[in-house]
Symmetry: C2
């Protein structure tokens, strides 16, 4: 089938594009290269030496014979071009990664808060309007986040996949109702994904769009079978305080002998998924879309949960690098439990990459191999959730 | 106190500005005159002869000695000017009417859908970011809508004011949780107010902003004590298919002998409030703000509920004008009940204008008096919720 991958040059978008292309789907990447532009703004670079998109696509074609298209387009701003693109390409499916995706960046300053809301809401809404306008019946698969749920509302019951059945007390007794799980976002970025949910619910109901929302945990790992084919296809690896995800940051820190930066007590429990499973989950979601008239289909795209402190201790034991407890720049619970329902992907055959298998490979093939590219002045997280909150000085000399 | 009224030139904003000025508050209107620009786009005019804002403000000053400031500013686009304005004026309170407010207009075409989302979300978010950035402790009062609730989730129990207490079944028994009432918006416009709710919840929690959200019913009536002081202060009266509110449309239709345009069966039950009560509710909300650290305070700003068909029949009996049942351009329940909790404003002393008192005055002083200004080609609602839905031809010659 023909698939547009919106944001197909990014950390999840690029390996997803290659995975779908490998499966012989006709893939067209739509991207404005905003992620690379933010690297310029932050004066950081991926630890891995990512190549320009044109080169990536040329190498992929040379190695595999598969052609991936590319349209340079800003989803949030260039609505007319987006609608024309849909009318011309008539995709069977649209995978939507085209949003600013870092919580710390979204709290960095006023401009970043505003950019995150303006970009993400407009990008998603423009896609929905353009699909309606072009009369397409394309399946839309969107990357959401576990962060829409906060810590969940269900006590010892796992966080359900999108919808929660509750009892509403009334004078005539309790009424059972299925509701969208209440939103409890922890950053402006996460908030935009809760806004997306309401946009999706409306367009699924009013226009019968077929939408799947993937509430993903924190991604770790770098390579998939496809990105590992050639160094020029390598995926990005962010280690900086704004874009680096926690486990990858620990691996990179261990590789250069930098203390492992745990915020607060490290008692935060988080949900994780390897990038190899991200691309498989997107494939599974594309193969199992909702029908016209269905409500939005929600998957929890998560394979395991861990306490941040325990991950740091694990990597410390493996590498001998110490753990540093730093002031937490986020407003969040000091400690939390997290129990996540993930029955749907399991039922659909996902066989996940476990932390215990992937960790050493990642440390050896990525973190250690490219450690000389690291800029140690970019490691400490400095975006704070509220003005005046404390952050750590650099722990090693730049 | 100093109050900024965002959208202070509009249907609710203008009488609110005068009401607060009359109470000796120091009022500054912030508006980009977008409502007047949309009149130009739709080629319609208020039935009442509204004057330019500069003239309105001059007349008000001459009659009462009260000075109202005016800043021409686009909240959605001119963030830097907004932040500077807050730093200079340092308002004690901000009343936020600065959003596109018509459901039919929001469904009119792709451009109007996108404008409604882009304008409303960015306006609200910019206000929140600017308040945080300027370090103000201003009370924020926002005009929401009853439409965030849909028809409610509580069966025979009234729709609560913003929050719903539910029981979440868990293996350890039911957990009682207070949640934001689930969103069920019926148009892109209403959806933007559900997005606003999530923005407010986040900024109240993260930045301790003090926010009140007024979920208003359908406004009827035109004049308040202040706008009636001089014809040059008159409030707007919209009768067209996009911006006219149902009861005012019926009154205008009756005045010119046009059949009363009921969509579908008219079995829709709606919540109503007179414009005189809108301005008093905003005053009460300003006098009873939440404290720092409180959750968003939500009022249902409603004084009575009626079935649309019954309103049409009432006006038909009073005037002899017939009722016309037209195809419904909206996707909505054919018939619905609506039972709304409105205890807070009652407890705070609101003594509402009842339909039974205000109706004849409105018909005589506004609809009949200005009926010669009507353009009968603008009466039929033509914005449809989904492409291909049927609308009525004009019922009278233009």
């Amino acid at each position: 089938m023909k698939v547009l991958v919106l944001g197909g040059d990014g950390f999840c978008g690029w390996p997803t594009s290659l995975h779908l292309s490998q499966l012989a789907h006709d893939v067209v990447i739509v991207d404005n290269l905003s992620r690379r532009a933010i690297d310029l703004e932050l004066e950081v670079e991926s630890l891995t030496p990512i190549r320009p998109l044109g080169e990536r696509l040329r190498v992929w074609r040379e190695l595999t014979g598969h052609e991936i298209g590319f349209v340079h387009l800003d989803l949030a701003v260039e609505y007319d071009r987006l609608e024309s693109l849909l009318r011309e390409e008539r995709p069977d499916a649209i995978v939507h990664f085209g949003e600013q995706r870092a919580a710390p960046y979204s709290m960095r300053n006023n401009a970043a808060k505003r950019y995150t809301v303006d970009n993400n809401v407009r990008a998603t809404h423009n896609v929905l309007v353009a699909v309606v306008a072009s009369g397409l019946d394309a399946a839309i698969v969107h990357l959401g986040t576990m962060g829409v749920y906060g810590y969940g509302w269900s006590g010892s019951a796992p966080i359900p996949e999108g919808y929660l059945t509750v009892k509403v007390p009334t004078p005539d007794g309790d009424l059972e109702r299925e509701i969208l799980h209440p939103a409890n976002p922890g950053s402006v970025y996460h908030m935009t994904k809760t806004l997306d949910q309401l946009l999706f619910a409306f367009y699924a109901a009013n226009d019968q769009l077929r939408i799947t929302d993937l509430h993903q945990g924190i991604v770790w790992g770098t390579q998939t079978a496809q990105t590992a084919l050639d160094e020029r296809l390598i995926n990005r690896f962010d280690y900086d305080g704004d874009y680096g995800t926690v486990l990858n940051r620990f691996l990179m820190q261990a590789a250069i002998g930098h203390p492992l930066t745990v915020h607060g007590t490290g008692g935060q429990t988080r949900a994780f998924i390897h990038i190899r499973d991200t691309v498989r989950c997107v494939q599974i979601a594309l193969e199992n879309p909702p029908s016209r008239g269905d409500k939005v289909k929600v998957f929890n795209q998560v394979t395991e949960t861990h306490r941040v402190r325990e991950l740091a201790e694990l990597i410390s034991r493996l590498t001998g690098v110490e753990v540093a407890l730093l002031p937490n720049p986020r407003r969040e619970a000091v400690e939390n439990e997290l129990n996540v329902s993930r029955d749907q992907f399991t039922a659909l055959g996902l066989n996940p990459t476990r932390l215990s298998e992937g960790l050493l490979e990642e440390a050896r093939d990525i973190a250690a191999r490219y450690k000389d590219r690291a800029d140690t002045t970019k490691i400490i997280a400095r975006s704070v959730w509220r003005s005046g909150m404390e952050t750590s000085p650099d722990l090693v000399k730049g």
